[in-house]
């Protein structure tokens, strides 16, 4: 009991430390830090890069019209000085900040913004983020290869960009803050071609000084960055090819400042119970929900009672223990950090007896056989096994198919193929902090297509209409009303139980003791590591 008390008290203290510490901490000037990853860094081309490693580096190399206050989901103008939205939500006018320069010395002008977004949409770029710009007028023509540009982007002068939308899109400001909207200099992109991702030129907080393939990337502070007092460090070196276990050892010896791959499960408890835990472990919430997609087009999961019964069969508390408690049980699709999350919603409580009764009511008193797909990377097969046991307790025999991510994704996107999919390792982390990002691709009718990510193949026209209505509320003043509408969409769809929301996983990063700043600079909801904001403390 005392032990429990101690731990709770410690946890309480840990939660308070950032605030207390921040009051005393002063960033050291001129510091450089070392970050490690196991895998190579993929391209740093902002129109192409789309993984959790290069995401934060691209964020810091380039700038965008909109940005988030570090550690939060609050949008602020960045490369834009100000903006206006017409009442119909169809025209956005941005005034650019003057005197901002690319690292090659040239000033950033309005045509660069237009060029960069057109490039992200252009099929020739092979960018994964084209679809985010679907609301801009002329999108279909460019994306379908019938035009060279977007007629919906106008540049009346060097410091004004006007976006004309073909439909209201309340998420548009978020879209202008994601990496795919990063502004790039046309002349450099054209000179470098596909090598631009290795020799990026932007106007962000850092510039890439050196890239030794397979070994390290050296980032240096951009002395001309337009945000005052940013960044707080003079540079950072990313060492790749570093085994997480070794990275952690090096971190404990002070050779490494951030172990990007976190703490390997085998080491987690040792570190957590060690003397330096509070200084080393950063454990933060992210915009993530792990779920089981129940295929509404595969028998007998097409029966809503069966899906509800499966929802009641899962012991989510137990599953969070498989990930060392680095997750919180979920009862709805939206993660708690997301606007619209309904903290009063109860969902389906764990109740084996009720689940069995419901299954019998649906005509399966003795259960049935089915298959559960899962990613083959740890800990997902272990989670799938826990789910399998839970299902077995109500008579449902699920065969586990643990495959490479790409194969699971392929099965999920093929109609009638995968009855159940555990999403871990693949889905879903929001691209930007807006609830619509948790609907369209994974629960809306648009995603229920060949190659889509709506693995439940759930399509509810009524909810789709409400989603469109919510996304038409572009007026920032209606933010709260819109979030509420979105929240109700997610809680209402749980009546149909297309998912078993299992948990919201937290992210863990290991940092050296000298690194300062609150945890959400290291697990920033929109950036992962926020290189612009972190610092070395005195």
């Amino acid at each position: 009991m005392t032990h429990w008390l101690q731990r709770t008290a410690l946890a309480g203290l840990m939660a308070l430390t950032p605030l207390v510490a921040l009051a005393e901490e002063t960033p050291v000037k001129g510091a450089t830090i070392t970050v490690t990853y196991k895998d190579d860094i993929a391209t740093l081309d902002p129109a192409i890069g789309y993984d959790w490693q290069n995401w934060s580096m691209i964020k810091s190399l380039f700038s965008r019209l909109m940005e988030y206050t570090p550690g939060t989901a609050d949008l602020v103008p960045s490369l834009a000085e100000s903006f206006e939205i017409t009442p119909d939500g169809l025209t956005y006018t941005f005034k650019l900040r003057k005197g901002v320069k690319f690292s090659n010395g040239r000033e950033v002008v309005a045509s660069d913004v237009k060029y960069s977004i057109e490039r992200a949409v252009n099929p020739k770029t092979q960018g994964p983020g084209a679809g985010f710009f679907g609301a801009i007028a002329g999108f279909d023509a460019l994306s379908g290869g019938k035009a060279d540009g977007l007629q919906g982007i106008e540049t009346p002068d060097d410091h004004t960009v006007v976006f004309k939308l073909s439909r209201p899109d309340a998420t548009f400001l978020h879209v202008l803050a994601i990496n795919f909207s990063s502004v790039v200099p046309k002349e450099v992109v054209e000179a470098e071609g596909q090598d631009f991702g290795k020799k990026p030129v932007g106007s962000g907080a850092f510039v890439l000084k050196d890239w030794v393939i397979g070994q390290k990337l050296v980032f240096e502070k951009n002395p001309n960055f337009y945000v005052p007092d940013t960044p707080k460090i003079d540079g950072f070196t990313v060492e790749v090819g570093q085994e997480p276990l070794v990275a952690l050892l090096r971190l404990q010896q002070g050779e490494v400042d951030i172990a990007g791959d976190g703490i390997p499960p085998a080491k987690f408890l040792e570190i957590k119970n060690g003397p330096d835990a509070a200084d080393i472990i950063v454990d933060g919430e992210q915009l993530q929900t792990g779920y089981v997609a129940l295929n509404t087009r595969v028998k007998p999961l097409d029966n809503v009672k069966v899906r509800q019964a499966l929802n009641m069969a899962v012991n989510k508390e137990r599953i969070t223990r498989i990930v060392n408690g680095r997750a919180t049980p979920a009862n709805q699709p939206l993660p708690p950090l997301m606007p619209g999350y309904d903290k009063d919603f109860k969902g389906y409580a764990y109740d084996v007896a009720k689940a069995k009764a419901l299954l019998a009511e649906a005509g399966f008193p003795n259960g049935f056989e089915t298959a559960l797909y899962a990613s083959s990377t740890d800990p997902n097969p272990r989670i799938a096994q826990a789910l399998q046991q839970d299902f077995a307790a109500i008579g449902v025999k699920a065969e586990i198919k643990a495959l490479a991510n790409a194969n699971v994704i392929a099965a999920g996107g093929t109609e009638g193929e995968a009855p159940m999919i555990w999403s871990g390792g693949m889905a879903w982390i929001a691209d930007f902090p807006d609830p619509s990002n948790f609907y369209g691709p994974i629960l809306g009718c648009a995603g229920a297509v060949q190659g889509g990510w709506n693995w439940s193949w759930y399509c509810n026209k009524d909810l789709d209409a409400r989603a469109i209505q919510a996304d038409s509320m572009s007026d920032p003043a209606k933010k709260a009303e819109r979030a509420k509408l979105w929240g109700s969409i997610f809680t209402d769809l749980m009546a149909d139980a297309p998912w078993i929301p299992v948990f919201n996983e937290r992210r863990v990063v290991a940092k050296s003791k000298r690194m300062g700043g609150p945890g959400n600079f290291y697990i920033d909801p929109t950036r992962v590591i926020n290189y612009d904001a972190i610092y070395v403390k005195q």
Partner: protein, 306 residues
């Protein structure tokens, strides 16, 4: 001699073509669609289709293969799907590290293996022999991952004699080469031992001994050179294997070799890299064997006569 080299190189071309064809077909038979993988979570069907088209993945397999071969003949291995960099650049950047580890690793293997194998053969059946054989048995069966971490923990993390990770100085190469060498030496020791026992029973050795030649000379001048042949063949095989990368050792020591490149590419279905690495390491195996075949007659004149 020159004829042999030409003949073998011709054969190598055929082998490479076969390897290319088989790898290509296998990769494209995978149910995983690289375009889907690349497009990521938020891509629309249109985006995926566009990427597939830009990569040429929407064309028939044969057309893609002929296209690939056409580029290959011109020395163009294509560009990585995920990094967008030329595959050749990625491989060349990792060649120095791979070669250094290959040479030092084989050196350690041979020195340890040859010494222990000879000692064991001379003391055949005795306690030293048994000790060496047991050691080599542990060596060949110990998992690389464990040994690598153990060496790292003791000599780098605790004693701090060597850096824990990276590439660039002589001190960096010691632990990776030792890991590879110590574990690989087991094979060599067993091989040398049996070859030596074989040779030591030959008539000419008995004759030499009968003549009163010093035992040291018998072993060093008469026995070892004749026991070297299988070792040379094994080195040839190791050259090929190490060129393909030693994934585990590279991963533990943060060694920027080809193995890590290949391993990541496989996970990301980065077909151009997988193809490139496969071809390069096949080429290395062919060349390694060729070198072994060319060196063999220098050691054993009987082969030259044939």
């Amino acid at each position: 001699m020159i004829e042999l080299i030409l003949r073998r190189l011709g054969g190598a071309l055929l082998i490479l073509f076969g390897v290319a064809a088989i790898t290509f077909v296998l990769l494209y038979a995978l149910p995983a669609d690289p375009a889907v993988q690349l497009a990521g979570r938020s891509a629309t069907a249109q985006t995926v289709a566009n990427i597939r088209h830009e990569l040429g993945l929407d064309q028939p397999l044969l057309v893609q293969f002929v296209h690939y071969l056409g580029n290959l003949v011109q020395g163009d291995f294509g560009r990585s799907y995920t990094q967008k960099t030329e595959v050749m650049t990625l491989i060349v950047a990792r060649l120095p590290a791979t070669l250094i580890l290959m040479v030092t690793g084989i050196l350690v293997e041979v020195v340890i293996g040859l010494t222990l194998g000879t000692i064991a053969a001379l003391g055949r059946g005795g306690p030293v022999d048994r000790l060496v054989m047991m050691g080599s048995f542990i060596g060949v069966s110990a998992p690389q991952f464990v040994v690598a971490l153990l060496l790292l923990y003791v000599f780098a993390a605790t004693l701090q004699w060597f850096p824990m990770s990276g590439f660039g100085t002589v001190r960096h190469v010691v632990l990776p080469a030792l890991t590879l060498g110590v574990l690989g030496a087991g094979w060599y020791a067993r091989m040398v031992r049996s070859a030596m026992i074989d040779v030591l029973n030959q008539d000419y050795v008995r004759t030499a001994r009968a003549k009163g030649v010093a035992e040291r000379t018998v072993v060093l001048r008469h026995a070892i050179p004749n026991a070297l042949l299988p070792i040379v063949a094994m080195i040839g095989i190791d050259i090929g294997q190490f060129m393909g990368g030693v994934v585990v050792v590279e991963a533990v020591y943060g060694w920027p070799g080809i193995g890590q490149l290949a391993w990541q590419a496989i996970q990301q279905v980065d077909i151009p890299i997988i193809m490139g690495v496969t071809l390069i390491s096949s080429l290395a195996i062919v060349i390694g064997n060729l070198i072994a075949d060319l060196v063999a007659p220098l050691i054993d004149p009987r082969i030259r006569a044939r």
